[in-house]
Structures are given as C-alpha cells and as structure tokens.
C-alpha cells in the first residue's frame, strides 16, 4: 500500500489511526513506532503510542514462542509405526519403509 492510500499524516485523527493501524503494521518491518511518517502523530497522541508499544511487544515476544516447543507422547510414534505396518485401504499409496 502506498502513502496515497493512507490519510494525511499531519491531520490524521486517532480514529483514522486506529482504522489504518493493521496496514501500518503490515507495511515495512512491522514496527510502527519507528515509522518516520508517524513520529509526529505518535508524539502528539501518547495513548496511540502506548497502544503501538504494547502491540509491538506482543508481536516481538510471539517470535520467541517459535523456539518454545513441547514433546509429544511416545504414543504418537507408536501410532505412526502401527499405521505404517498396517495401512488402511485409503493408504494404498503409502510408501512403507522396509523395517519400521
């Protein structure tokens, strides 16, 4: 989306900002707080700036969840082996490993 799709950054109201916030986030690197076009607005609208900081903090921390993983139970691998040994009719195209 180009700037022409956005409201005038100098006259934008908080309601305008709220409406376009999903697009602001979707553009660039996803950090609205560092967008030079929005600096003046955010400085003049601390509640909007606080909202942006919160949403950025959530998005930033979400990335760290990618590394946080859980272990499935042993039953999952057992089930996979069983299904490979005894494929259902709909699994006819299954490539069965020789010794699983």
């Amino acid at each position: 989306m180009t700037d022409s799709n956005f409201p005038d950054f100098d006259t934008m109201t908080p309601a305008d900002f709220e409406q376009y916030l999903p697009e602001f986030f979707a553009n660039g690197d996803g950090h609205v707080s560092t967008d030079p076009r929005l600096q003046k607005f955010l400085k003049n609208n601390p509640d909007c700036a606080a909202l942006v900081r919160d949403l950025e903090a959530i998005a930033d921390q979400a990335r760290s969840l990618f590394e946080l993983t859980e272990q499935p139970s042993d039953a999952v691998w057992t089930g996979i082996q069983d299904k490979l040994r005894h494929p259902a009719p709909e699994d006819d195209d299954l490539s069965i490993p020789q010794t699983v």
């Binding site: 959530i58 979400a62 999952v76």
Partner: protein, 220 residues
C-alpha cells in the same frame, strides 16, 4: 482444500520462514535415505521435527489429544510424500506447510469454517477485542512475559489464534495465510490486528481471568 496440492507445492522460499528454519546437520542425508524407504531415516526425521510439528498442532488446535493425532497424520503424510520434496525450500518449512494444511483440513471437517466463520469474523461480544483504544496501560509497555503470552494465545478464539500463530509465531506472510485460509490478505491483516488487540486485553487482566478452564491441558 486440496492438501497435497498446497502442501506439496514448493513455492519460492519465504525469507522469514526460511531464515527461521535453517538446515539441520544430518537432515539432508536422512531425507535422501527416507526417500528410499530407510526406516532409520524416518525415525531420525521424526526425532528432529516432532517437537516443532507437535507444538504447531497444539497451538493451532489448543487440545493435546487432537494435536497428537494431527502430529501422527502429518508424519504419515510426510512419509508418504517425501519423494516429492525437491529441496527448493527448507525441509522444515515444507513440513510446516504440510502440517498447517492438514490441521486446517481437520478443522474444516469438524465444521469450523476458519476465517470465513461468523465466529471468527464477527466473534461474540465477549470474544471481540474491546475498543478501549484510548485507555493507556503501562503494564504491558516494554515487555511481555512469554509464559503469560502463551497462555493468552491459548485462550484466543480459534480464528484469531490461527492467524496469530501462523503470522507472529510461525512467520508466514499475510499472502500465504490468505491462501491457506482461503480469505483475502486484508482479512488476514485485520484478523491479526484483532488477535493482538485481544491479547493485549487478556494480558492486562489479572492472571486468573486470562487463564481458560483446562488451561493445563493446552499450555505449551
């Protein structure tokens, strides 16, 4: 949805996802051996990727039993179709796409219409993020506790959770999510924004109210 059509298509690698899924030592050899039906190689691939695949299923489904079932299905599909993996994208990226599409198919079979679902686009008043845009709260500013965020994500309405997990956790782009969920890119952006607003709201609440019933079962 044609699962195989989507999951087996190797699009141009997505930089964000590819970067987060670097090649793993010994993986390439295991893939080649698995293509020839080597059981040990399958076992190794399972060991290398089971946690990521299971956690992805758990986050998308919010249910341990279903997550384990879908993890099993994902690896069975992997073992059936590994011959079609050409190495144009990271193996884990390919496997994640396969898993996401299987989970989405599963949810559709259950009758959950994902992003086009009324509940997702127009969640109930209780589920929708509140329009308290103007109220400032310093509680979140600066940092978000990872465990609290994980709990809050688990308590999101399914549609919000799906888009949030795919975009903010898994690193898929909006156009990719739109394709997977069969919705518009704008819808994906809007759902993500609402999900983040809802999370902000949940994270500002006292601990007990952001923790859904049965949370212990779905927490990751």
């Amino acid at each position: 949805m044609d699962v195989q059509g989507l999951q087996m298509t190797q699009n141009t690698p997505t930089p964000g996802v590819f970067k987060r899924n670097p090649p793993i030592a010994g993986e390439a050899e295991a893939i080649e051996a698995a293509k020839n039906g080597d059981a040990e190689a399958f076992s190794k691939l399972y060991a290398l990727h089971k946690r990521r695949v299971y956690t992805l299923c758990l986050r998308m489904l919010g249910n341990v039993s279903e997550a384990e079932d879908m993890t099993q299905e994902a690896f069975l599909h992997l073992f059936r179709k590994i011959g079609s993996f050409r190495g144009e994208s990271a193996f884990s990226t390919w496997l994640h796409r396969l898993t996401v599409n299987l989970v989405l198919m599963h949810l559709r079979k259950k009758g959950l219409n994902l992003v086009s679902l009324e509940e997702t686009i127009n969640p109930s008043e209780d589920d929708a993020p509140k329009r308290d845009f103007g109220s400032r709260d310093l509680q979140l500013t600066g940092s978000v506790d990872r465990v609290a965020l994980e709990r809050a994500v688990a308590s999101l309405p399914p549609g919000y959770r799906m888009v949030f997990v795919l975009h903010d956790v898994e690193g898929f782009e909006h156009n990719e999510i739109a394709t997977m969920l069969e919705c518009s890119t704008g819808n994906s952006k809007s759902q993500l924004h609402k999900a983040r607003l809802k999370l902000r709201e949940l994270l500002r609440q006292p601990e007990q109210s952001s923790q859904p019933a049965g949370f212990n079962e779905v927490a990751v």
